[in-house]
């Protein structure tokens, strides 16, 4: 019966979309969700959303993906919803299909949007987002198969980011400080932009079917998002994830360390203890394992393309510093600069990031990445950094602007160190394309792909073990 109504089909399609977006939804959870839906009242969309979330989403980082897909498969409204129709019905000239988008309409809309943004009123904002796409994002007359709604067009026309200054003024009047007002205003406009994008996606999904949108429009969860494709808001979110990640890794490492505390068999003690049982070794004795801690030298490329990746890795390594004996960090573009002193214990993350960004200037002479020169300089200026007890970690995309690669120097560095690794934030399939020297360097130092927080966490965990 219910299968005929399409509800079960929609439910299953929704689950399929969640799975293909990387959420591990099992059959048991599927059944739980159905049980939850039968227990809940269908009148309220928010309740249904929470019911689905409670049964299907078991990790905080997956919630944004879930919300985006829920909005696509169970949209808030169809078309312009009740609001839009009522408004259109009242002024007859608009309903007649006349001007929906003219200078006057734009001005009125922006004034209304500014008020709503200044108040931070979510209800009004979501209504405005829908209205904005309907009015300014419509692209009638495009060919079949092409989306007829565009968040981009709407955002270009209304340009909410230009309203930031005026919102800041409003917030300053409330007695907030300058920087804080900037941050709040930026965040509100960013959230509104996302709402507009969501609404455009909803309308496209309505026309083309949800699975089409689900395949192309859903971004990966924050811990699987590529460093190189992260936006500013994503970077902030990632930065917030660093300390929790470090804490989880530290707990895991301590646990594993405890589990392996028992070292190799102590033969003498075992034999001596067996005397009291007539020479039968009933209990074995073990030597305590010597705690081994790695000395780490991190050498990272901080040129524009990979700067974010280098910063995250440095932050994570230093957040876990008590798992290592000693950590030294150097940054380079075409010259080497030591940055270890920026990582004071207990220092604020944002301050460290700012210091690091400021010190980038010391790492460059001409400003074009040159791996060969950087390695040579490192070997010349910091010969004491690497020793037989230290591990060398190089971070970078190995794109050296076709300059001399100085493979010999790298080989010497790698031989001096106990271990050496190279972390590359690019996808493996891009290695060796263009000016990438990844295959050449990869032959000298084992190269590991490290594109997101999950991969980074796994690597650092193995390193500290």
């Amino acid at each position: 019966m219910s299968a005929r109504s399409g509800l079960v089909d929609r439910h299953i399609a929704f689950l399929e979309a969640l799975r293909s977006a990387g959420l591990p939804v099992s059959l048991a959870e599927d059944l739980d969700a159905i049980a939850a839906l039968t227990a809940l009242d269908w009148a309220d969309r928010a309740t249904i959303r929470e019911g689905y979330a409670a049964t299907l989403v078991k990790r905080r980082s997956q919630r944004p993906t879930f919300d985006a897909l829920f909005d696509i498969y169970f949209p808030r409204m169809v078309g312009d919803g009740v609001h839009g129709r009522l408004e259109d019905a009242e002024p007859p000239d608009e309903a007649a299909g006349g001007v929906r988008d003219n200078a006057q309409a734009l001005q009125d809309f922006r004034a209304e949007l500014e008020d709503a943004l200044a108040d931070g009123d979510q209800e009004t904002l979501s209504r405005l987002a829908a209205e904005m796409v309907a009015r300014f994002g419509a692209m009638p007359g495009r060919g079949p198969g092409l989306s007829s709604w565009s968040a981009y067009t709407a955002l270009q026309r209304v340009a909410p980011s230009e309203l930031v200054d005026r919102i800041v003024q409003g917030l300053l009047a409330e007695g907030r400080t300058e920087e804080e007002a900037q941050r709040v205003a930026g965040r509100r406009v960013g959230a509104f932009t996302r709402m507009v994008e969501d609404d455009a996606r909803r309308r496209i999904a309505e026309e083309k079917g949800p699975h089409h949108v689900a395949d192309v429009a859903i971004r990966p969860t924050i811990d699987r998002l590529d460093f190189t494709s992260a936006r500013r808001a994503d970077l902030e979110e990632m930065r917030r994830q660093i300390y929790p990640l470090a804490r989880r890794l530290a707990t895991r490492l301590t646990k594993e360390h405890h589990a392996r505390r028992r070292g190799p068999l102590d033969f003498r003690r075992t034999v001596r203890a067996s005397m009291s049982t007539g020479g039968v070794p009933l209990a074995t004795h073990h030597r305590p394992r010597r705690p081994h801690r790695t000395e780490l030298v991190v050498l990272c490329d901080v040129s524009g393309s990979v700067a974010n990746f280098a910063q995250f890795t440095l932050l994570l390594v230093f957040a876990l510093r008590d798992q290592f004996q000693k950590v030294r960090a150097f940054t380079f573009i075409d010259h080497v600069h030591e940055v270890t002193h920026h990582f004071r214990p207990g220092a604020d993350v944002v301050d460290v990031m700012t210091d690091l960004a400021a010190s980038t200037a010391h790492a460059a002479l001409w400003g074009r990445t040159n791996y060969g020169r950087a390695f040579t300089k490192f070997a010349e200026e910091h010969p004491d950094a690497l020793g037989p007890k230290s591990s060398l970690l190089i971070l970078g995309d190995a794109r050296s602007n076709y300059s001399d690669l100085a493979e010999g120097t790298l080989k010497e560095l790698a031989d001096t160190a106990r271990n050496a690794w190279w972390l590359n934030p690019e996808h493996r399939r891009h290695w060796g394309t263009g000016d990438s020297a990844a295959p050449t360097y990869g032959a000298i130092v084992p190269m590991v792909e490290c594109r997101n927080l999950t991969q980074l966490g796994e690597f650092v965990h193995d390193l500290a073990r």
Binding site: D32, A35, G51, A54, R63, E236, R239, R248, D348, V349
Partner: protein, 286 residues
């Protein structure tokens, strides 16, 4: 008797016992009762995870059985243990002509069983809320132990057989996410992430927890805490800390939360030196 009759009923009854739940929490609390599944609550410290379990117990008139988890927690502390001393006494006191098999059957009976929280919660006939607190602090092995309890609500004791729940308890697990729980545990639970509340709800919480605080000061306090949470701090102030702060203001008889008052009492809500400096800098306290 069902635990709650609808999400709104759950919300109302939790409110009556002093726990102001948002719609998501109310819905999930209702579902945990309706589906008879354990509820896993995650979130930062001090947002009311443990309090939720206590509130459910108060709202439904159930008794709370609590298992506090820590590293090294084992079966003997979580499930059950045999009372060795009493068993030993029994063996010594038994008449010398008694067969060993009879003694054996004698000493592995209910009389010598010490029940620990998990078994206690399962064997109770009255409504019970079982709180497994900070489950992420335990070792992986304990999670395995929880699986049988959480999915079938039964415990197998080799000497006695399987003890199944006569009445399923309402199970709440809390976690600070200091370790990722195994998929097997997560699969058996409903999941709820508790976060810092919005200004409206926080004001209501502070007002309900602390008597005699001026409305205007509450407003100022909630706004300041909100501003602090927007900064990137190591540890953002939690609800528990807002409430503490409100109590501090009453104790110090501060009637107006101006910048000096904030700077003087900042230690109540921020517990890291770098957070302190940052707050002072960003909020222009000095």
């Amino acid at each position: 008797m069902p635990w709650f009759s609808s999400p709104s009923d759950a919300g109302n009854r939790l409110t009556q016992v002093g726990y102001l739940a948002d719609p998501a929490t109310a819905t999930t609390a209702y579902l945990a009762g309706a589906l008879e599944k354990p509820l896993l609550v995650e979130g930062p410290a001090g947002v009311g995870k443990t309090e939720l379990a206590k509130a459910v117990a108060r709202a439904t008139g159930a008794e709370l059985v609590r298992l506090q988890c820590y590293e090294g927690l084992d079966e003997a502390r979580a499930l059950y243990e045999w009372n060795y001393k009493k068993q030993l006494l029994r063996i010594q006191a038994s008449p010398s002509d008694q067969e060993w098999s009879a003694t054996h059957d004698d000493i592995f009976t209910e009389e010598f069983l010490l029940t620990r929280p998990l078994l206690t919660a399962i064997r109770r006939d009255e409504p019970t809320v079982l709180l497994i607190d900070e489950v992420d602090k335990t070792d992986i092995e304990v999670e395995g132990l929880l699986l049988e309890v959480l999915s079938d609500f039964q415990v197998t004791i080799p000497e006695l057989g399987t003890v199944a729940a006569t009445r399923r308890p309402y199970v709440v697990l809390t976690s600070n996410a200091s370790r990722e729980l195994s998929e097997a545990v997560k699969r058996r639970c409903l999941y709820l992430h508790l976060d810092y509340p919005d200004a409206e709800r926080e004001r209501a919480i502070v007002a309900s927890q602390v008597d005699g605080l001026d409305d205007r000061v509450t407003e100022q306090l909630v706004r300041t805490v909100g501003r602090l949470r927007e900064l990137e701090l190591k540890k953002a102030p939690s609800i528990a800390e807002s409430v503490d702060w409100a109590r501090t203001l009453i104790a110090l008889e501060i009637r107006d939360l101006d910048e000096k008052a904030i700077a003087d009492t900042l230690g109540v809500i921020l517990k890291h030196d770098s957070d302190h400096q940052k707050a002072v800098k960003e909020l222009r306290l000095r």
